[in-house]
């Protein structure tokens, strides 16, 4: 009798295990399985191609392009969203109400369609050039499509919402009493901004920056459509080695570099956030 109870108790303890098992197996076998398989099966050839790929000029230039594009997107989205988020939070709530709706619209739509939209806008006979020529601001069409600037614009549209949302949520956590207290003690607007708002929202800025940098390192459709054949980010290069050059050793090295860079960015930014919080 007692034994039966004990068996029943241990079966009950196993219930959560059985409930978790199917999904856990799937994620484990596919995600961790593929990483382990790739590292274990070809560790030697990976090491050899790493020595060959990492110092090569095409790899270094793709790496620099990826970082440059990512930093530009971080910078531009911060310049656009920071004043808007601060204004919407503390001055005019209507701005925030508008943006909180608008920011979600692009997120529902396929990035391929949005990149296609940029193609129509930025092309030689595109919307932008037609308008500028119509008003005689320029005499020859600008070539923006298939340049780094086009990629930056496309990625800015893709990732702006993440910067805005993480900035706004950090501003939302600043109690208005802090600002009223500072103002009643005689602090001016600039002083309030530098001493209260900026330090308390820096974590939101950091979160947004890390999401954008990681996203830019991994984005594929946008740079491949808007960058044409000229602008090569790491993910565009990866796909070329898989589908066109059929050199999977090089492709593996590029994939591992993208993964390592992403994890490094997330890790460093988390560390910075922790340090800032303590300080």
């Amino acid at each position: 009798m007692e034994k039966e109870v004990r068996i029943k108790a241990s079966i009950t303890q196993l219930i959560p295990f059985f409930l978790l098992l199917p999904l856990l197996t799937l994620v484990f076998v596919l995600l961790f399985g593929s990483v382990i398989y790739v590292l274990a099966s070809s560790s030697h050839s990976i090491a050899v191609s790493m020595l060959e790929v990492l110092p090569s000029s095409y790899f270094i230039s793709a790496y620099i392009t990826t970082l440059k594009v990512g930093l530009m997107v971080v910078l531009l989205s911060a310049i656009l969203s920071y004043p808007l988020a601060v204004y919407g939070r503390f001055v005019n709530f209507k701005v925030e109400r508008l943006l909180s709706v608008v920011v979600f619209i692009p997120l529902m739509i396929n990035p391929l369609i949005r990149a296609f939209g940029w193609m129509i806008i930025l092309g030689r006979e595109g919307v932008l050039n037609s308008i500028l020529m119509y008003f005689h601001i320029i005499t020859h069409p600008l070539s923006i499509l298939y340049t780094e600037n086009a990629v930056v614009l496309g990625l800015l549209e893709l990732f702006f919402p993440f910067m805005y949302l993480s900035l706004y949520s950090s501003l939302e956590n600043i109690p208005e009493e802090y600002i009223l207290a500072a103002q009643s003690l005689g602090a001016g607007t600039l002083r309030v901004f530098l001493d209260i708002i900026l330090p308390l929202s820096i974590t939101g800025l950091a979160t947004g920056a890390s999401i954008i940098m990681a996203g830019c390192a991994a984005a594929f459709v946008t740079p491949s459509i808007l960058g044409g054949l000229k602008v090569k980010t790491l993910s565009v290069l990866l796909r070329e080695y898989v589908d066109i050059f059929l050199d999977w050793n090089v492709a593996t090295v590029i994939a591992l570099v993208i993964l390592a860079t992403t994890l490094l960015i997330i890790g460093v930014i988390n560390l910075v956030k922790k340090l800032v919080m303590r300080w």
Binding site: L30, L99, P106, I109, L112, E125, S130, S235
Partner: protein, 258 residues
């Protein structure tokens, strides 16, 4: 102060332009009569909408994307429900590690994941392309499915289920009759969201589709060869489709703060 507010309005206008113009512009071009995409659009025609249905690769791609999205979301939801329930109801060692494992697919860059699965599932394990594609889609939508299911369980109070059990219901019965109906909305919203994510996914489909191509890949291939308003017309229909689905999901359940 007026200087500040006019500066903010300039920024707001720029932001709205950047966010919305690439969505609005294809909508206007889709009705243009000229064979080449040009601006401003001339005339009014619906022929590009008919044209989109004439290309077999686009129609087949749409069907395949529907099948994959439906199958992947169903499986992801069916696996996420018991897993979230276990995380919600029981406390055990290593719970936070398991939660992180379920989030891992969203931390991995999709293009890297797609490439690794190509080597692992297709080149090494010799899986048929359609199965690899389905598994890849399930993997990338799992974090979304888990988030919705878990969020709807958290909103449910543990007491109702305990009340049913203490009144004599078998635990399985209590789960099916008490828990499931109460989280039904969360399940539907999670299913729709997972479907939209799968329907829009690009890298995973690009690397894992051999032969049959899901719609985004078919559109991408089309764009490399032709530049006419067909894709704009198709974009119109797809924008309507995914936006409607997302709004329905948002209406069913609001996920604030999850």
């Amino acid at each position: 102060m007026r200087l500040v507010s006019s500066f903010v309005w300039v920024l707001l206008a720029t932001t709205l332009f950047i966010l919305l113009s690439p969505i609005i512009v294809p909508l206007t071009v889709a009705f243009s009569e000229r064979e080449v995409i040009s601006f401003p659009p001339t005339g009014f025609t619906l022929k590009w909408f008919y044209n989109a249905f004439k290309f077999k690769s686009l129609v087949d791609g749409f069907k395949l994307s529907l099948y994959i999205g439906f199958a992947a979301s169903s499986i992801a939801m069916a696996l996420s429900l018991p897993a979230s329930y276990a995380l919600f109801k029981y406390s055990f060692k290593g719970k936070s590690i398991i939660e992180n494992i379920f989030l891992a697919p969203s931390l991995m860059p999709e293009i890297v994941l797609s490439y690794l699965l190509l080597i692992y599932l297709i080149a090494f394990a010799r899986f048929p392309g359609s199965l690899a594609l389905l598994l890849g889609h399930i993997l990338i939508i799992t974090p979304y499915a888990m988030r919705y299911v878990y969020a709807s369980l958290v909103n449910l109070s543990k007491e109702i289920e305990e009340a049913a059990v203490s009144l004599g219901a078998h635990p399985v019965r209590a789960f099916l009759d008490v828990v499931v109906p109460n989280v039904k909305n969360g399940l539907v919203a999670g299913f729709i969201t997972s479907f939209v994510v799968s329907f829009n996914a690009f890298s995973i489909s690009l690397f894992l589709s051999y032969g049959a191509m899901p719609l985004p890949i078919a559109m991408w291939n089309y764009l490399q060869v032709r530049y006419d308003p067909t894709i704009a017309a198709l974009s119109c229909m797809l924008i309507l489709f995914t936006v409607t689905l997302t709004i329905i999901a948002r209406r069913i359940v609001s996920l604030r703060g999850v």
